[in-house]
Each structure stands twice: as C-alpha cells, then as structure tokens.
Symmetry: C2
Subunit: 217 residues, 2 copies
Amino acid sequence: MNYPKISKAIIRRLPKYRRYLGQLKRQGVEKISSNELSELIGCTASQIRQDFNTFGEFGQQGYGYSVNYLYDEINKILGLDKEYKTVIVGVGNLGQALTNYTYYYKIGFNIIGLFDVNPKIIGNKINDVVVSDYSDLEAYVEKEAIDIGIITVNRENAQAVADTLVKGGVKGIWNFAPIDLKVPKHVALNSVHLSDSLHELTYMISTMEHAGREDRD
Amino acid sequence: MNYPKISKAIIRRLPKYRRYLGQLKRQGVEKISSNELSELIGCTASQIRQDFNTFGEFGQQGYGYSVNYLYDEINKILGLDKEYKTVIVGVGNLGQALTNYTYYYKIGFNIIGLFDVNPKIIGNKINDVVVSDYSDLEAYVEKEAIDIGIITVNRENAQAVADTLVKGGVKGIWNFAPIDLKVPKHVALNSVHLSDSLHELTYMISTMEHAGREDRD
C-alpha cells in the first residue's frame, strides 16, 4: 500500500467514502461512476477522482468503479484489514457505550482490557471483559502489546492516562476527554470533542435564528 | 451580535478557543495576548486575531485580551448564553452517556425528554427524566417547543427520527447515527461520526507504521 503525504481533508473524506460504499454494498450495487458517487455523497466528481488517484488506480476511465473492490481498497488504506488490540480507560457510561458500540460493529477492534480507578466498578464484567485496576494499565499494555488506548476519563486525568498508555507502548490513542493531549510524534492521536461539536450546533442555530429575524425585518 | 458569513473552519475553531479560555479562567489568568494564546492552542497569532476580528473588537492592540470578557463574548457567539430544551431519541448506552454528560457539564442543555421504542426501557428514569414512548415524540416536541433533538438510534431508523423531530419543529439536530441525514435548510444539523473518527485514527497508525518501516529499510 502506497502512503503518500496527504492532507487532513482527504483523511476526513476516506471514512465517509467507506460509509457510502458500505451502504451501496448492502444494497447490492456492483458498479458506480464517480458522478453517481458524487451525487450521493454531495461533493464534486473531480474531487472523488482526485482523492482516489492519490492512492492508485481504482477504476478504468468510463467504466466506473467496482463497489466491492473500492470498498476493500479503502479498508486497506484505512488500516481496517487488520485487528487492533484495544483497551478502554474510564468505564463510565461513555466507556460502556463505546464497548458495546465497537463490539456490535465488529470492525476489527478487539477490546480486551477495561480499566478504572473506582473500586465499585473494578471486577465487573462488560461483554465478557473484566474491569481491571488502573494501576495495572502500563504493565498490561506492554505485556499484551496493545495497539489502541481509548480515553474516556475526565479532563483532569486524561493527560496522565495518555502518558501511561504511551509508556506502555500503544500505537494510537482515541481521546474523548475535552482537552488537547500531548503525545510523542510516533503515537497517533485522534480526539472526539463532544462539547465542541455541540457548540458548533448551537452556533448554527443562533446564526439561523438571526438570519430568520433579518428576513422578517 | 453580528453574524457574518463565516467559514466552517472558523466555526470549528471557536469551541476550541472557548475550551482554552475556560481553562485559563479556571487557572485565574486575567489577561492574555494573541501570541500567548497562539502558543497554547498551537495556531498562529494572526489567525487568532483574524478570527476574533470577524466578530468585532475584542481587545486593544498591545494590551492583550481580557480572558473573562473574551470567554463571555465567544459564549454569546456560540449561542451558549441561552438555554436549550433538548430531547434524546434512543436511550441505549450512548444516549445514557450523553444524558449524564450534558447533565454533568450543565452548559445550558436542559434534557427534558427521553424517547425509545423498547417497552423494557420506556418508563425508566435517568437523571429524573422518564423515558417516553417514541410514538409520542412529534406531539411532545411541538407542545414543549423543543430546541434540539439528539439522535442516538441506529442507522436504519435515524432518518425517520430526524423527519419526526423536524415535523415537531426542532431548531437543531445532533446526530450520532453513522449516516448523513437530510434535513430542511432552516434546521441546523451536526453529526458525530464515531466510526469515521476511529478510522482516521487507524489510518494514522497505518501511515506511521509504514513510515517507520521505511526508516528502518
């Protein structure tokens, strides 16, 4: 697989392409042109062709793309042809929701460890995985060669958890705490800032209300 | 409040500025220059000044910004000086996590309705809110003048839920289903695609592993 230097914007679009191709697969669609795909996704056909060309030849001009082939290739580019040994740190509602979410979707994320500091939670089982004591995290990550650590603790403790995961040797961190974590360059980091997303929504609502008022004035 | 036409990129940065300013507030910092803020956030000072200038005069050249004032102004721009009547549709783990999340943060999101189709869940209480029958959703949204509907149902049902929320008259939808919903132009929509975010992470991990191999070759 060829990994050229590509922009964050393309990285954001790839999972979206994958989602739509997965939908087409489920609908039994076998072939699709970049024009049809662009209408479905809501971006230009030339952007789609350009994005795909970044990674190689995925179709023949004029014949459209094979949905199955394209889906598999994008999976490979996204690293979804592998299994990832994963731990979740912080087993509150969100941690539990993510456990069930990834469990349900069975997309290569093997959650084999759950960690918390709360003695009331330690020892509980979620989807057959026992919640372990947070103080055992670093040794566990190292011993089990964990790939991904998911952080669902609060803002105050998130950086310390990230440091522990890095010391243990994770390759990537998926962070849900509302803070921008610092990790070394060799560790991948992606954050889901739920409050940021909610605030974008209220911004849009406020803008629309204002526009609506101006229309009536 | 002046709402100029602004790019999606700025909308994404505003909640981030708010997060850092909130942190500075908690640390008791009163004044900050755009240079200090840029170092903290990791973008250029000129970008920060430009972003703020889009919305008006927030500070005097050379004197820095008042942290409290700036925080309050950004809150106003983001519409966080208001309360939002909110319902959650789909009371699984994720719905429950969001109920607790917004409840805990007390940031103006008043979750007054929870809805589900599962008779085993209907009637349960979460944070003093009773889970209601999904079939009552539209009437409830209309009667209570609900502002925001949060969708945490599965992909297959998400569009139908969105249509019902729109019919009831919501101003905005916060969607967690892995699908791009269609809503009329007067309704705000923001989606959190968890799987997209996870796939971005695995992409980064794959790229880094590849780069690491090349370094060793």
